[in-house]
């Protein structure tokens, strides 16, 4: 198959919901599936998440790029995604066999969405500790994302959340579009996310 550049997947969600933790878990899961991978992180004014990913040694450091989002993390993934597009283009140039680029947005609020000019598919990561009423609040990120990930399910008993109704409400708010649960701390639920990403944007037998 002719190469036309890697597929691009956005990972958005509120501050601290576990976006970088999910990326750290997805890298080995995607490698296991034979996916040639690179990552772009967005932080406000630092390269914190990129540095953290480099320290894990999961990926060669030159496969991890940082974009500084400035004051408005959603602007660089929606209104003007040029910086992220340029970063992704440069990864495509440097790694001609690249299959997939994960783009982690800076932590934002429930309204952040990705432009389809930037990504082919995007997921939104919320966490159980943020409260089980988050799906009911119907933020655009929760509603419009291609995949909703509810992370930190291990914390449910400590924050008084019952998972089943939270998942039900999330599915209802999303009119049945996919919702997956993860515990990034214990590496649970990651394979289902990796499978969903591959099925959505990579070539594979139907």
């Amino acid at each position: 198959m002719r190469k036309i550049g890697a597929a691009r997947i956005g990972i958005g969600g509120p501050v601290g919901s576990g976006k970088t933790a999910l990326v750290e878990r997805l890298i080995p899961a995607l490698h296991k599936r034979g996916v040639d991978l690179a990552v772009i992180t967005n932080d406000l004014v630092t390269h914190e998440d990129a540095e953290r990913l480099r320290r894990t040694n999961l990926l060669a450091p030159e496969r991890i790029l940082a974009v500084e989002a400035g004051a408005c993390p959603h602007t660089v993934i929606r209104e003007d995604p040029t910086l992220n597009m340029e970063a992704a283009d440069s990864l495509d140039r440097d790694f001609p066999d690249l299959d997939l680029i994960l783009i982690e947005s800076g932590g934002d609020n429930l309204a952040s969405t990705f432009s389809l000019d930037l990504v082919d598919y995007w997921l939104f990561v919320i966490d159980v500790a943020g409260g089980d009423d988050i799906p009911r609040k119907r933020g655009p990120g929760v509603i419009q994302s291609d995949l909703l990930v509810i992370n930190k399910v291990d914390l449910a008993p400590y924050v008084g959340v019952t998972l089943a109704p939270m998942i039900r409400e999330a599915s209802a708010a999303r009119a049945g579009r996919p919702v997956l649960c993860t515990n990034c701390r214990a590496n649970e639920g990651i394979d289902a996310v990796a499978d969903a990403l591959c099925a959505a944007v990579l070539y594979q037998a139907a």
């Binding site: 198959m1 550049g5 655009p140 509603i143 419009q144 009119a175 070539y203 037998a205």
Partner: protein
């Protein structure tokens, strides 16, 4: 397992004279299949889908390429695949004389896709209409906007 048909380029529009002729021929001795895409998904360039005849397709277009209604995606001797965009529904809103600015502000703030038509604001419905109506309740009850449909 069926291998999906890989679509990496748009051959042209079904209205291009030469393509129109090919499609006409194929429709006689073969089949012209339709790949439906929702208006909200039209900016996508890489996705899996099925035609109306159940043929699996993997669309994987260059980033500079843009899908459009009537795009010819695939041509072979007895089969063609063309793209059809599902109907875009609109909500027609008429602001009162002192409501136009507030309605404009609301639509911009919510990132609604809009068009202007004969003094009305047309909102493209990418999600269920109730979600849009719910945001209009306050302006409506203040008499600043009416939903024309």
């Amino acid at each position: 397992m069926d291998q999906p048909i890989v679509i990496e380029a748009i051959m042209g529009s079904q209205t291009d004279p030469t393509l129109a002729e090919r499609l006409h021929d194929i429709s006689h001795h073969g089949v012209v299949e339709v790949l439906f895409v929702e208006p909200a998904d039209l900016p996508r360039r890489r996705f899996h889908s099925h035609t109306d005849r159940g043929t699996a397709c993997f669309v994987s277009l260059p980033r500079a390429t843009q899908l459009f209604d009537g795009a010819v995606l695939h041509l072979e001797n007895d089969r063609a695949i063309i793209l059809r965009v599902g109907q875009q529904n609109w909500l027609r809103l008429r602001p009162s004389d002192d409501g136009a600015m507030e309605l404009g502000y609301l639509a911009g703030n919510l990132h609604w896709k809009v068009r202007f038509e004969e003094g009305c604001l047309m909102v493209a419905l990418d999600r269920p209409v109730e979600e849009y109506r719910a945001r209009l309740v306050d302006l409506q009850s203040a008499g600043k906007v009416s939903v024309v449909e």
